[in-house]
């Protein structure tokens, strides 16, 4: 700016010289000295404005005007602190809620996973399309994994993953530790490194290889006191000794990269060491997935295309197992968050609508204030201010206000996220709950987001006063008196804003109402079993002393017997996987006496292993035949129990006594005789319809991997009161048995609804905000209209109008605006609610009850909001009203 200063100094000298020269010429023409100087000045023009104009030539004009506008804007905002505070707080609520939801969205959906180039990492799952079974996210078989790995040329590598849990003994109490069996290539594929030691090598990832384990940081610290010599030690897993070869970094989590609850997270990894028999097994699908990294030049579409070709080839080579089995290439993040994505986007959308409502509320406030500032603006226009300049200044004011709101919003967002975390909402979101939630905080992205939406909000609500200025007629504004200066157009704009606001509010509230309806329906779904009074716990016998099925069977039998002796316990049983915990396994089977079908058309059913007494304990009725008994031993007739839904595979009325087998009829698998039919119950989750299911008795199980994991205990009174006795009963059979997940079945049921409850809670919060905003907006516009018409009302009353008529006048104007908004909102919601259909249970997105209730609620609120000012108008004293003028 040095140049500008120099040029301005030059200018002043120039002007002096100029006027002096002119004066001298005038003197030469014979003027008096005073006359000469005066004429010279007159001819030169206004020195000040010339200097200012030249100054502008040298200044960065827009920047200076901006600073000027900001100074002026701050002054205006400070002049009406009440208005500023109310507007900033309302905005703060809107922006804060938006920022909080965005922070969750960012942490869960947008932020990169904590692996280098994580966008190149994909999960390979099976896309199964059979007549009786369709699943796009099916667990792969180890045979498929091996063939995918051998045949593809598009991935750097593929690693297999299988969930494993271990009983960790020695060094203190026995505990169950979640772990993962993985291919040796997993760690290099993820590009992660150990903190101590190394990860597996290829020689350790073969069947019969050495028993080695890589430990998570959390387990290393909590169980082994961060022992630096851990690498020289072995640990006992399921009673077998494993050499510790590495400890992972503190922030390494796998497979859920954001599981920060060490007690729930995976804490150790062992080589998956698939045997040759497994590697050629295409029929059993028990890997959790196959992780792969795309080669640098490859993209997702090419990968999917190549895997499709490979799947077709496998279907030709293994028609018995691979017909109808494709490959689904899913980006890792998609796999991790796929089930919560739509909820989060819907929440973000809803809170965006609330923010728009806030904007229209503030626009209305600004309009009200604008009508008192109308004269100021008109005066400035009359004095020659360019409209553009005034517009810019008004927008600066709006944006300043919005940024102030943004600051309040960031505070609200911090409080909001803190409150959500404090309420442990994130942790109780259920097994399929929000991943990455440990990270949620209002970070830089949240701040940037709130800044951007503050600016946007400012521009949006700044439009209203701007529109006002564009239409401002300086002449009329200045001639009219202050009190009656309200022009018709401004009133109309205010009405439109309230209509829009009400319509937005209806949309948000409809969303919440639909979700509420569907959650209420979900809570009333008959489960098919009785959760009250039921205690559940997880006990998995998995050490060398239980390597034989009969050893496990005798443990189950003995432990269940002991549990039933505990005071307060009525009965007990155990199952492979507890209902409502999102576990699903399926088998294809053949029915004796029914027409033979191709492998693609085989009946499919879920399967579960149960102990005798499991159905009775759960309260699942045995409809036909009998329950299992401990006499169903491997030496006796192999038996199964089916559920009602599975009966559809029989053409006869009563399938009891009929036989089935796994796979196709000609396969060398044993036949099982159906001995009983039990009632349907909700298994995978509450929302899914019961599907055909076959139950096998644990006492006949011959497979090494067949286990009962979840135990159920029917109690009298409070289930948790018996938990100590139940533990003791189990420990009296085996004192080294870890017992985990001790909880009431009611809690399991609640947890399975936690995600819906979370979504509903937030949406209900936004809906409440929307109701308040809509009411306040409606009230404001009606009260203002009434105040503007005080004189008119006074005249009407003076001329003999009834007070009831006055009330009707105000009420009808306000209500007609409100009802228009409600109507438009219903129309908008009818089309918008469709995006929610994936979240709804048993309620169509056009549910007339939800829509009707919302329309009624908002109509009542509208009437109340109009009634208050209308009542006040009714009581106007005509004498006072007329004297006011």
């Amino acid at each position: 700016m040095g140049r500008r200063k120099r040029m301005m100094a030059d200018l002043e000298q120039d002007i002096r010289d100029h006027i002096e020269l002119e004066t001298r010429e005038n003197l030469d023409r014979g003027m008096s000295p005073e006359e000469a100087r005066h004429a010279a000045r007159r001819k030169f023009g206004n020195v000040d404005s010339i200097v200012e104009e030249t100054w502008e030539v040298w200044s960065v004009v827009w920047l200076e005007q901006l600073l000027q506008d900001i100074r002026y804007g701050v002054r205006i905002l400070r002049k009406s602190p009440a208005f500023t505070a109310i507007a900033a707080l309302t905005l703060g609520l809107g922006i804060g809620a938006h920022t909080a939801v965005f922070s969750v969205v960012h942490a869960v959906i947008l932020a990169p996973l904590p692996y280098p180039q994580s966008d190149r990492v994909v999960t390979l799952l099976e896309r199964v399309r059979l007549r009786n079974y369709q699943n796009d996210l099916n667990d792969p078989s180890p045979g498929d994994f091996a063939d995918w790995r051998a045949l593809n040329s598009i991935f750097e590598d593929i690693a297999a993953i299988q969930d494993r849990s271990f009983n960790l003994t020695g060094n203190g109490d026995p505990v169950r530790v979640e772990g993962e069996a993985v291919s040796a290539s997993l760690f290099s594929l993820l590009r992660v490194h150990t903190r101590l030691g190394r990860t597996f090598n290829a020689h350790e990832d073969i069947a019969g290889g050495p028993r080695v384990v890589v430990m998570g940081y959390g387990l290393w610290v909590s169980r082994f006191g961060a022992d630096p010599r851990i690498l020289q030690k072995s640990i006992l897993l399921d009673g077998a000794s494993y050499q510790v070869i590495g400890v992972m970094d503190r922030n390494f989590r796998f497979p859920d990269p954001a599981n920060f609850h060490a007690s729930l997270g995976d804490q150790l990894w062992v080589p998956i060491a698939l045997s040759p028999a497994e590697l050629s097994n295409h029929g059993s699908h028990y890997l959790q997935g196959a992780l792969a990294r795309l080669k640098p030049e490859a993209n997702l579409r090419q990968a999917q295309a190549q895997m499709d070709t490979i799947a077709q080839r496998l279907a030709r080579e293994h028609p018995g197992t691979n017909e109808g089995v494709g490959v689904n290439v899913v980006p890792l993040r998609e796999e991790l968050v796929g089930n919560v994505k739509s909820e989060l986007w819907i929440l973000l959308g809803a809170v965006g609508l609330v923010l728009l409502m806030v904007c229209s509320n503030i626009a209305n406030l600004l309009l009200v204030r604008g009508s008192t500032r109308g004269r100021e603006l008109a005066l400035r226009i009359a004095l020659g201010a360019a409209r553009m300049r005034i517009l810019r200044q008004l927008f600066t004011e709006s944006v300043l206000l919005a940024l102030l709101g943004g600051c309040a919003g960031v505070l609200f967002a911090l409080l909001g996220v803190h409150a959500l975390q404090g309420a442990r909402v994130f942790e109780t979101l259920g097994p399929s709950g929000l991943p990455s939630i440990g990270h949620v905080g209002v970070g830089i992205p949240g701040l940037a987001f709130s800044f951007v939406i503050s600016l946007l909000a400012g521009l949006i609500f700044g439009l209203a006063p701007a529109w006002q200025v564009m239409r401002c007629n300086a002449n009329r504004e200045l001639k009219a008196s202050v009190r009656t200066s309200d022009s018709a157009s401004r009133l109309a704009l205010r009405d439109i804003l309230v209509v829009v606001e009400t319509a937005l509010g209806v949309t948000v509230v409809v969303g919440a109402a639909l979700l509420l309806r569907s959650l209420l329906l979900l809570q009333q779904v008959p489960l098919g079993f009785d959760p009250s009074g039921l205690l559940t716990l997880r006990v998995i016998p998995r050490s060398t002393q239980y390597s034989q099925p009969w050893q496990r069977t005798s443990f189950y039998r003995e432990a269940l017997d002991r549990i039933q002796e505990v005071p307060g316990v009525k009965s007990a049983g155990a199952v492979s996987f507890l209902p409502l915990t999102y576990f699903r396994a399926s088998k294809g089977f053949s029915v004796e006496g029914e027409p033979a079908l191709s492998s693609r058309e085989l009946p499919m059913a879920g399967y579960d292993l149960v102990s005798p007494g499991y159905f009775a304990t759960m309260g699942i009725p045995v409809l036909e035949g009998r329950d299992f008994s401990w006499n169903d031993t491997p030496q006796n007739l192999p038996v199964v129990v089916i559920n009602e839904a599975a009966q559809k595979y029989w053409s006869v009325e009563d399938p009891v006594g009929r036989r089935i087998k796994a796979g196709r009829p000609e396969e060398a698998t044993p036949w099982f005789t159906v001995v009983g039919v039990v009632g349907n119950f909700r298994d995978f989750d509450i929302a899914s319809q019961p599907r055909p299911t076959i139950f096998f008795p644990i006492s006949q199980s011959a497979e090494e991997t067949s286990l009962l994991r979840d135990w159920v205990v029917r109690t009298e009174g409070n289930p948790l009161a018996t938990s100590a006795g139940v533990r003791q009963a189990i420990w009296s059979v085996d004192k080294n048995m870890p017992i985990s997940r001790v909880q009431r079945m009611e809690d399991v049921r609640t947890t399975s609804l936690a995600q819906q409850q979370f979504t509903l809670l937030l949406l209900a919060l936004f809906a409440g905000l929307a109701l308040v905003l809509a009411s306040v907006g409606q009230y404001g516009v009606t009260a203002y209209a009434a105040a503007q018409r005080t004189r008119e009302i006074g005249i009407r009353l003076a001329l003999g109008a009834q007070r009831r008529d006055v009330m009707r006048l105000i009420l009808s104007h306000g209500a007609s605006i409100g009802f228009l908004g409600v109507g438009l909102g219903i129309v908008a919601a009818l089309s918008l609610a469709r995006v929610m259909s994936a979240l709804l249970y048993g309620v169509p997105p056009t549910d007339p009850i939800a829509f009707g209730a919302v329309a009624l609620l908002l109509s009542i609120l509208t009437l109340i909001a109009c009634y208050i000012p209308a009542r006040r108008a009714m009581h106007i004293d005509p004498v006072v009203a007329l004297r006011c003028e």
């Binding site: 040029m7 030059d10 200018l11 000298q13 120039d14 002007i15 010289d17 100029h18 020269l21 002119e22 001819k43 030169f44 023009g45 206004n46 020195v47 404005s49 010339i50 104009e53 030249t54 502008e56 030539v57 040298w58 009359a382 004095l383 020659g384 360019a386």
Partner: protein, 115 residues
């Protein structure tokens, strides 16, 4: 009368005034007062330029690099600012002059179509 209309007039005059200043300086460097006089004299007093408005225009031209300013002595040996047309300004003047000619011709044709 609103200042808005004055602004309009300056807007209208700006380009023209710039052109006149540069044309005057084509004859040689001179100071502000002399430029004003020259424009007035050469237009037979038809163009009554408010003398002050010359200066923002001069500074605008300096900023664009079309003229430069230097110290010099006026006729009666007083120190004064002398404005000089730069090479860039000379090229600009040729350009602007031909534009002006075209404009004048076009307007002339519209105003006196019969000729």
């Amino acid at each position: 009368m609103s200042t808005r209309r004055i602004e309009d007039r300056i807007e209208l005059l700006q380009g023209t005034l710039d052109l006149l200043i540069m044309r005057t300086l084509l004859l040689g460097p001179t100071h502000g007062h002399a430029i004003a006089k020259a424009i007035q004299f050469r237009s037979d007093d038809v163009l009554q330029v408010e003398q002050g408005s010359l200066y923002p225009a001069l500074h605008r031209l300096i900023k664009r690099g079309w003229i430069s300013v230097e110290e010099g002595a006026s006729e009666n040996n007083r120190r004064a600012k002398f404005y000089r047309l730069t090479a860039k300004g000379r090229r600009q003047l040729v350009l602007e002059t031909s534009k002006w000619d075209k404009l004048a011709e076009a307007i002339g044709r519209i105003l006196r179509p019969a000729e």
